[in-house]
């Protein structure tokens, strides 16, 4: 990939988390192949653990959740580079931990007492951003446009925001939680059409500890997307991905309904627009096949 790179504009430390490298490595692949084309150098480092997960681990013991997160922040801080995450769960935990530690000096002292046992200290200086936020704020969408070889003209993408990139906005500082446009602008920059649908900001339901409720929520989103005329879903969260990709199989089995909506990670769409192959963005690994939308993309490509 490096030979095609535009040259490094910024060096960042990637925080891969658990879901991407272990469960959906195709997302990691898409990031590793697309970001260098924008001039981003990923400086991988040793020393990270799970962020940790903002739902179950936090529900068990919030102090342990906070200490684990603070250790990851301290490790990143030592590098002096910006920390970027590509998973909504990781960005949620790391930004909330930073918010809580900066809000409450006594809490920060308590956490640092624990970190001292392993010679670490959280100072509060590390800058954390989601990859889409870094692209918008530090590179600019012009950098995305410049990297595009095959704009995805005529491709209608139903964006699913997921919850944790945006909310709570006083912690995340990414965009308006009710009327966001960060992902729409991203989709527009790669030449595709962001399609409005009325459940765009509904939660996928994955964090709810119930058998039926999450399926009701994902299905409401599928119904909304089906009516929108979208060719595929575009999202940024691996947990949401699980709800929608595997989720469609579950809904088909349990409820006999087939929606057949391809679920695509935004950086996979970026890669296709940059001229990368299906294999280079790992789209061949998805349960819901993207053949139809790929045909449309290849048909619309002006080589």
């Amino acid at each position: 990939m490096q030979k095609e790179s535009r040259g490094t504009i910024m060096k960042v430390v990637p925080f891969w988390g658990c879901m991407m490298p272990l469960k959906y490595p195709q997302m990691e692949l898409a990031l590793r192949n697309t970001l260098p084309l924008l001039g981003v150098e990923l400086a991988d480092i040793d020393g990270f653990t799970c962020c940790p997960d903002p739902i179950y681990f936090k529900a068990r013991d919030k102090m342990k959740w906070l200490v684990t997160a603070a250790r990851n922040l301290a490790v990143a801080e030592e590098t002096g580079h910006m920390l970027i995450t590509m998973c909504s769960g990781c960005i949620s935990t790391l930004k909330e931990a930073q918010f809580l530690l900066n809000e409450d000096p006594a809490l920060k002292d308590e956490v640092n007492k624990r970190l001292k046992k392993v010679n670490r200290e959280y100072k509060g200086k590390v800058i954390i951003k989601h990859a889409v936020e870094m692209i918008r704020d530090d590179l600019g969408l012009e950098a995305v446009k410049k990297s595009i070889k095959k704009p995805l003209e005529g491709i209608n993408v139903a964006i699913h925001y997921g919850c944790h990139l945006l909310k709570p906005s006083q912690v995340m500082h990414v965009d308006d939680a009710d009327y966001p446009n960060i992902l729409e602008d991203f989709i527009t920059a790669i030449g595709a059409n962001p399609i409005e649908h009325y459940e765009k900001v509904l939660c996928c339901g994955k964090g709810c500890m119930d058998d039926e409720l999450p399926l009701d929520m994902t299905e409401a989103i599928f119904v909304s997307i089906e009516k929108s005329g979208a060719d595929c879903m575009g999202l940024i969260c691996p947990t949401c991905f699980s709800s929608f990709d595997l989720g469609q199989i579950m809904i088909s089995r349990k409820r006999g309904k087939n929606y057949n909506i391809p679920v695509i990670y935004l950086f996979q769409l970026l890669g296709l627009a940059q001229g990368l192959t299906v294999e280079q963005v790992g789209l061949h690994t998805h349960r819901i096949k993207a053949d139809k939308v790929l045909e449309k993309i290849n048909g619309s490509v002006k080589v």
């Binding site: 658990c18 879901m19 490298p21 272990l22 490595p25 990691e28 692949l29 590793r32 991988d44 480092i45 040793d46 020393g47 990270f48 653990t49 799970c50 940790p52 997960d53 903002p54 739902i55 179950y56 681990f57 936090k58 529900a59 068990r60 013991d61 919030k62 102090m63 342990k64 906070l66 200490v67 684990t68 250790r71 949620s92 809490l107 007492k113 624990r114 970190l115 046992k117 392993v118 670490r120 919850c163 944790h164 909310k167 709570p168 906005s169 939680a177 509904l202 939660c203 339901g205 994955k206 964090g207 709810c208 500890m209 119930d210 409720l213 999450p214 009701d216 929520m217 790992g282 690994t285």
Partner: protein
């Protein structure tokens, strides 16, 4: 839950509220003025009659420990979407109060059994997802670099010490 305000004498369990105040995020329950803004944006409330964040906050204000921390507590239906935190005009951060209640239920031993299953991996391996040979194989097939080493000893050292945990505050009942 029905609270008969006029006829019945209301007994508030302040001991429970004091306990809740000491758990991280619990203190903000005091700010709730029962406006229901959280209910309007809550997806779990929209899809299930069993879940209502305003009622959970009301129970917290009344100190209804059994209903909140019992086996059938609705708190586990929360989707963790943060819509209530976003909307609340009082900075109650309802989801964080619910997380505090979950921490208390764990302490009490009344949390659902699969919570441990869903979170055990982290303290054992440093990752939430199990690192099986299939994971390595899949990464290799995609041409991804090997996984970085996970500093499990370091993690376990900062997690082992119990005395700093704020949920350790137990009050005899």
């Amino acid at each position: 839950m029905v609270v008969k305000m006029a006829k019945d004498k209301i007994v508030v369990n302040y001991r429970f509220r004091e306990k809740l105040n000491k758990v991280s995020g619990g203190k903000h329950h005091n700010y709730c003025y029962q406006c229901s803004a959280c209910v309007a944006v809550c997806p779990a409330a929209r899809f299930s009659k069993k879940f209502n964040p305003r009622k959970i906050l009301l129970k917290a204000l009344l100190g209804m420990e059994e209903e909140l921390l019992g086996q059938d507590s609705p708190i586990w239906l929360c989707t963790n979407c943060y819509s209530c935190y976003e909307r609340c005009p009082q900075d109650v951060r309802p989801i964080e109060v619910i997380v505090a209640l979950k921490n208390m239920a764990v302490e009490k031993g009344t949390a659902p059994a699969n919570l441990a299953k869903l979170s055990d991996n982290i303290a054992k391996t440093g990752m939430s997802v199990t690192i099986s040979s299939a994971v390595h194989r899949k990464r290799e097939q995609l041409g991804l670099p090997p996984l970085k080493t996970i500093p499990i000893d370091e993690l376990q050292t900062i997690l082992e010490d119990k005395e700093v945990t704020s949920t350790d505050e137990t009050v005899d009942k």
